[in-house]
C-alpha cells in the first residue's frame, strides 16, 4: 500500500458535524506534483476534506500525512499549503500588490525582495499591469488569478483550490481552467482542486477522486474512471450512461431481453441480476439485421453540433429513454426522424456490468 512517491495522504479520515457524518473513512494518496480533483455532487464532503487537509476543520478521527509527517494535529498556521477559496477572499482594502505581499511581509522579507517577488508572481499570472488596483476594480477572472498569486507567494508545496472557477461565467471558466493547467505544468506544484463540475475535472485533472456521501467512490485517471467506472454512481455522475437490466446466463454471457450478449469473464455468478452500463457513444445504430440487435422507436433528436443525440423508447429500458450519441461524420448517412424504428447494437468491450441492487 505505501507509495514511495506519495506526498499527501489521509488514512481513515472521518469528520462528524454533530451527528452528521460528513467524511466517512476517507483514505486517499496523492503523489508529489500531481493535479488531483475531488469531484462529487453538492454536499458530498469535498470542501470538508479540503478544509481538513488545511487544518481549517478538525477531523473527528484519522490521520493526515504530508511529506512523511503527520500533520493532522498541527494548527493551520503550521501547515504548508496555499489556498484559493471560491469567493477568493481578497482583502478589499489592499491593492493587488499588498494582497500578494501580505504573507511575505509577515515572514520578514525586505521591501526590495517583496517587490521583486510580487512582480514575478504578477507576470506569472499575466496581470503585471494591475499591480496598484484594488480587487473591486478587477474582473472575476482577474481576481481569481490574484488570489492564486497570493496563495503561492510564500512558495508553499501544496496548493488547495476550492471551486476556484465556479464564480465565473462559462466562457471564462473554460479559458481559465486551461490556464490553471498550464500554470500547474510550469510550477509542478502538487495541487488539489475541489469541483462539482465533472467536465472540468475530466479536462484538467491527472487523477480524480469521485466522492459521494462522505465516501470516496472511485479514484483514477479521467480516462479510467470514465471508461471503467467501478459502480453505477460513478458511471452516472461522470458523463452519461444508459443502465440496462440483464441476467447472468454463464460466466461469459449475459441475457438482455432474451438476447445473449457475450462478455469475456464479467465476474458474476449465474442468475445474478445485473445492470449493464452503456455510454451513449458506445451504442451503434445499424440498418442491417445483425445478431443481438435491439430495436427502438425514436422519440426525440437533439442536434448538438458535432453529434446527434437520439432518444429511443425501447423494451430493454422500460422506464427510461435510451440515449444514443451519433457523430455527424462517418458511415451513417440516413437522417433520423422522430417516429422511426431503428436497430442498435452494443459492443461488449465498451460495456460495464454492475450487480443490480434495488
Amino acid at each position: 500500500m505505501e507509495n514511495a512517491n506519495s506526498y499527501l495522504s489521509t488514512k481513515k479520515l472521518s469528520k462528524f458535524f454533530g451527528e452528521f457524518l460528513a467524511l466517512d473513512n476517507v483514505s486517499i494518496d496523492i503523489n508529489a506534483g500531481e493535479f488531483v480533483c475531488f469531484l462529487g455532487p453538492s454536499g458530498c464532503g469535498k470542501t470538508t476534506l479540503l478544509r481538513c487537509i488545511a487544518g481549517l476543520e478538525v477531523q473527528s478521527s484519522g490521520t493526515i500525512i504530508q511529506n512523511s509527517e503527520i500533520i493532522s494535529d498541527l494548527p493551520t498556521s503550521q501547515r504548508d499549503f496555499g489556498i484559493v477559496f471560491q469567493s477568493y477572499a481578497l482583502f478589499p482594502n489592499l491593492s493587488c500588490f499588498q494582497n500578494i505581499a501580505y504573507g511575505l511581509e509577515n515572514l520578514g522579507w525586505d521591501k526590495k525582495d517583496t517587490a521583486k517577488r510580487v512582480e514575478e508572481l504578477l507576470s506569472l499570472v499575466g496581470l503585471s499591469d494591475h499591480i496598484g488596483k484594488y480587487p473591486s476594480q478587477l474582473s472575476g477572472g482577474e481576481q481569481q488569478r490574484i488570489a492564486l498569486a497570493r496563495a503561492i507567494a510564500t512558495s508553499p508545496n501544496l496548493l488547495l483550490l476550492d471551486e476556484p472557477l465556479s464564480a465565473l461565467d462559462a466562457k471564462v471558466r473554460v479559458h481559465l481552467r486551461q490556464e490553471l493547467k498550464n500554470f500547474h505544468r510550469r510550477l509542478g506544484l502538487t495541487t488539489v482542486m475541489v469541483t462539482h463540475d465533472q467536465e472540468e475535472a475530466l479536462a484538467i485533472a491527472d487523477r480524480i477522486f469521485v466522492m459521494d456521501g462522505g465516501k470516496i467512490m472511485q479514484s483514477g485517471t479521467p480516462e479510467d474512471i470514465y471508461a471503467n467506472s467501478k459502480n453505477p454512481f460513478v458511471a452516472n455522475f461522470i458523463g452519461m450512461t444508459n443502465f440496462i437490466e440483464g441476467e447472468v446466463l454463464n460466466k461469459n454471457v449475459i441475457t438482455i431481453d432474451n438476447k445473449q450478449i457475450d462478455f469475456v469473464d464479467h465476474g458474476f455468478t449465474k442468475s445474478t441480476k445485473v445492470l449493464v452500463a452503456a455510454r451513449p457513444e458506445c451504442i451503434d445504430l445499424t440498418a442491417k439485421n445483425e445478431k443481438n440487435m435491439f430495436d427502438g422507436t425514436v422519440v426525440d433528436v437533439e442536434f448538438l453540433g458535432s453529434f446527434l443525440r437520439i432518444y429511443l423508447n425501447t423494451s430493454i429500458m422500460p422506464n427510461q429513454r435510451l440515449i444514443v450519441d451519433k457523430p455527424m461524420i462517418g458511415n451513417f448517412d440516413k437522417s433520423i426522424a422522430v417516429g422511426d424504428v431503428v436497430g442498435f447494437t452494443m459492443s461488449p468491450t465498451h460495456l460495464n456490468v454492475y450487480e443490480y441492487d434495488r
Partner: protein, 560 residues
C-alpha cells in the same frame, strides 16, 4: 502508528488569544452587568438590616396606593406618548421616504436634533413656553404643564427621532414592484397606501411602538423636571433612594420598572425576527412619483414639525440668555456662570472627559467583542452566551442599572469597591448602558466581511490579530466612527444611568442641569443643556469632516 486520533482543535496562537479574550469578556460582563443586577434583586428581598425577608417588600409596595399609582402613571404617559410619536413619526417618515417633497435633507437633519440634546432640554423649553410664566400658558386652558401633559409633550419631542429612524428604514425597504402592481390594478393612491405601504411597514411600526414605549416608560429626566406632583416609577426610585434613603423600596420599584421593560424588549425581538425573515427576498427600491396634493400637504406637515423642533431648541437657548424671564428680556451671559457650587463648568468638563473615555473604550471593547463573537473558530457555546449577554443591556433601564451599580460596588467587601464614586464607574456604566445598539451595528458590519479572510490569513501564516488591524478594522472604519459618535452623544446626554453614580468631583453636565432646575435656576439649567447640544453638534461636525476627508483616503477602495 498511523491510527492516531485527534479530536481536539489544534489551536493556533490566534485561537488561544481569542479564547483568553472570550473569558475576559465573560468575566467583565459578569462583574459589570450580571452581579450588579443580582445585587439589586437580593436588595429587594432584604429588610433595612440586610436580612432576607422574601417578597415582603413587594407586598408593602402593592399595599401602598400612592406608590402603586405611579405604576399606572408611567404606563399612561408611556402609552399616550407612544401613540402620538408613532403617528407623527410615521407621517414624517412617509413624507421623507415615499413622496417627492423638497428639502428632505434639511427635514431629516432637523428631526434628528433631539438626539443631540438631553431629554430634559425639552422639558425646560416647555417650562418657558407653557410654565407658570410661560408665553402660551393660556393654550393649556388652565391645565398645568407640570404633570402628564408636560411629560407627554417632552417625551414626544425627544423620542421622535428614535421612532423616525426605525420607521424610515422600514419604509425604505418597500418593494417597488408592489407599487407598480397596485398602479397597474388602477388602485387609488389612498388604497395603495392602505394595501401596500402600511402592511409593508407593519413590523417597523410594531418595533417603534415597543422602543418608544420602553424609552418613555423608563425615562427619568423629563418627569423629574416637568412632572410636578405627578409621580412615575423612575422618579419614585429616585425619591426613595436619594430622598428617603429607603434602598430596599428603591430596589423593589426598580424591579417593577424592569419587568414591563423586559417584556416589551422580548416582544420587540420576537417581531424583529419575523421581519428579518420577511426581508430575505429583497426587492426593487421604490422611487416615489410626484403627487401634488399629497406632497404639498406633507410639506406643510414637515415644516410644522421642524418648526416645533426649532422652537423648542430656540426657546431653551433664548431662556438661557435673558436676564430675568419674563420680566427683563435683555440678553446676558450671566447664566453661564453657574453660580451654584459644584454644578458649574467643572461638571461640563467632566462630562466631556467622561464621554470621551466612554466613547473610546466603549468602541474598542464593543468592536473587539463583536469580532470575537462573529469570527472565532472555537468555543461556539461560550460565544453564544456572550452574544446573549450583549443583548441584555438594551432591556435594562438606565436608572435600574445605576441603582444596581450602587448596591454592588458600594459593598464594603467588594474588591471592586475602589471604583465607587470615581470617573471609572461612570464610564463603565455608560458603556454597559449603551452597549447593545453599538454591538449590533458592529456585528452587522463584521458579518459583511468574507468569512474566509481568517482562513486565508492563517494559511499565509499571518496571525489573526495582525489581520484584524490590517484588514478588519480599516474596512469597518465607518462603523467604528459611528459607534464612537453614538457613545459620545449618549454619554453627554444621559441622565438616568448616572444620576446615582456621580460624586462631588465627578458631577456631569446633564445631572447639573437637573440640579440647577431643582434649585430654581431654570435659566442655568437651560444654559447647561444647551452646552451639551453645542458640544454634541461640534463632535458630530468633526465626525463629518473626518468622514469626508480622512475616509476619502483610507476608504479609497470602496467606491471605485
Amino acid at each position: 502508528m498511523l491510527g492516531r486520533k485527534s479530536k481536539s482543535l489544534a489551536a493556533d496562537k490566534s485561537d488561544k488569544i481569542g479564547r483568553v479574550l472570550v473569558f475576559i469578556y465573560l468575566a467583565l460582563f459578569f462583574c459589570f452587568l450580571v452581579l450588579p443586577l443580582f445585587a439589586l434583586m437580593s436588595k429587594s428581598m432584604q429588610n433595612a438590616d440586610g436580612i432576607f425577608i422574601g417578597l415582603e417588600n413587594f407586598v408593602v409596595y402593592l399595599k401602598d396606593p400612592t406608590l402603586f399609582k405611579s405604576f399606572f402613571h408611567s404606563l399612561f404617559v408611556a402609552f399616550v406618548s407612544t401613540v402620538i410619536v408613532v403617528f407623527l413619526g410615521f407621517l414624517y417618515a412617509f413624507a421623507l421616504q415615499c413622496t417627492c417633497i423638497p428639502f428632505k435633507g434639511f427635514f431629516r437633519v432637523v428631526s434628528l436634533i433631539p438626539l443631540l440634546s438631553p431629554s430634559i432640554l425639552a422639558a425646560i423649553a416647555l417650562v418657558y413656553w407653557f410654565g407658570n410664566q410661560g408665553v402660551f400658558k393660556e393654550l393649556l386652558l388652565g391645565n398645568s404643564i407640570y404633570g402628564p401633559i408636560g411629560i407627554i409633550m417632552a417625551s414626544v419631542y425627544w423620542t421622535f427621532p428614535h421612532a423616525l429612524m426605525i420607521l424610515s428604514t422600514s419604509l425604505s425597504l418597500s418593494d417597488a414592484r408592489l407599487y407598480e402592481a397596485s398602479d397597474a390594478l388602477k388602485a387609488s393612491k389612498l388604497r395603495t397606501f392602505f394595501t401596500v405601504t402600511l402592511p409593508g411597514a407593519k413590523y417597523g411600526i410594531i418595533s417603534t411602538t415597543f422602543v418608544v414605549f420602553i424609552l418613555v416608560f423608563t425615562d427619568f429626566g423629563v418627569p423629574k423636571v416637568i412632572g410636578g406632583n405627578y409621580n412615575v416609577l423612575a422618579t419614585d426610585i429616585y425619591r426613595e433612594v436619594v430622598g428617603m434613603q429607603n434602598f430596599q423600596m428603591g430596589a423593589v420599584i426598580s424591579i417593577v420598572l424592569l419587568i414591563p421593560a423586559l417584556l416589551a424588549f422580548a416582544l420587540d425581538q420576537f417581531f424583529r425576527k419575523r421581519q428579518a425573515s420577511q426581508l430575505t427576498s429583497r426587492a426593487v427600491v421604490y422611487v416615489p412619483k410626484p403627487h401634488k396634493v399629497r406632497d404639498n400637504l406633507l410639506l406643510c406637515y414637515c415644516l410644522f414639525i421642524t418648526a416645533l423642533v426649532l422652537l423648542m431648541l430656540g426657546m431653551a437657548q433664548f431662556g438661557a440668555l435673558v436676564k430675568f424671564w419674563p420680566y427683563n428680556l435683555s440678553l446676558t451671559l450671566k447664566h453661564y456662570n453657574f453660580e451654584v457650587a459644584g454644578l458649574g463648568w467643572d461638571s461640563f468638563y467632566n462630562s466631556i472627559r467622561m464621554s470621551l473615555w466612554a466613547a473610546f473604550f466603549g468602541t474598542v471593547i464593543i468592536f473587539i467583542g463583536s469580532y470575537l463573537i462573529e469570527k472565532m473558530r472555537s468555543d461556539k457555546s461560550l460565544r453564544d452566551v456572550l452574544q446573549m449577554i450583549a443583548l441584555m443591556p438594551m432591556a435594562i433601564p438606565g436608572i435600574v442599572l445605576g441603582l444596581a451599580y450602587i448596591f454592588f460596588f458600594n459593598m464594603k467587601d467588594n474588591p471592586l469597591n475602589f471604583i465607587y464614586a470615581t470617573m471609572i464607574i461612570l464610564v463603565i456604566n455608560t458603556i454597559v448602558h449603551f452597549y447593545t445598539v453599538s454591538h449590533l451595528s458592529a456585528i452587522t458590519a463584521i458579518k459583511k466581511l468574507d468569512s474566509e479572510f481568517e482562513s486565508v490569513s492563517l494559511s499565509l501564516k499571518v496571525p489573526i490579530y495582525k489581520m484584524f488591524f490590517r484588514v478588519t478594522l480599516p474596512v469597518c472604519l465607518p462603523t467604528v466612527f459611528d459607534i464612537f459618535i453614538y457613545l459620545f452623544c449618549n454619554a453627554m446626554t444621559t441622565v438616568s444611568g448616572v444620576i446615582f453614580l456621580y460624586s462631588y468631583d465627578t458631577t456631569l453636565a446633564s445631572v447639573s442641569s437637573i440640579h440647577l432646575d431643582e434649585q430654581g435656576d431654570v435659566a442655568g439649567a437651560a444654559a447647561m443643556a444647551m452646552l451639551i447640544v453645542y458640544i454634541s453638534f461640534l463632535v458630530r461636525g468633526i465626525h463629518t469632516i473626518i468622514s469626508t476627508f480622512l475616509m476619502k483616503r483610507t476608504q479609497a477602495w470602496r467606491n471605485i
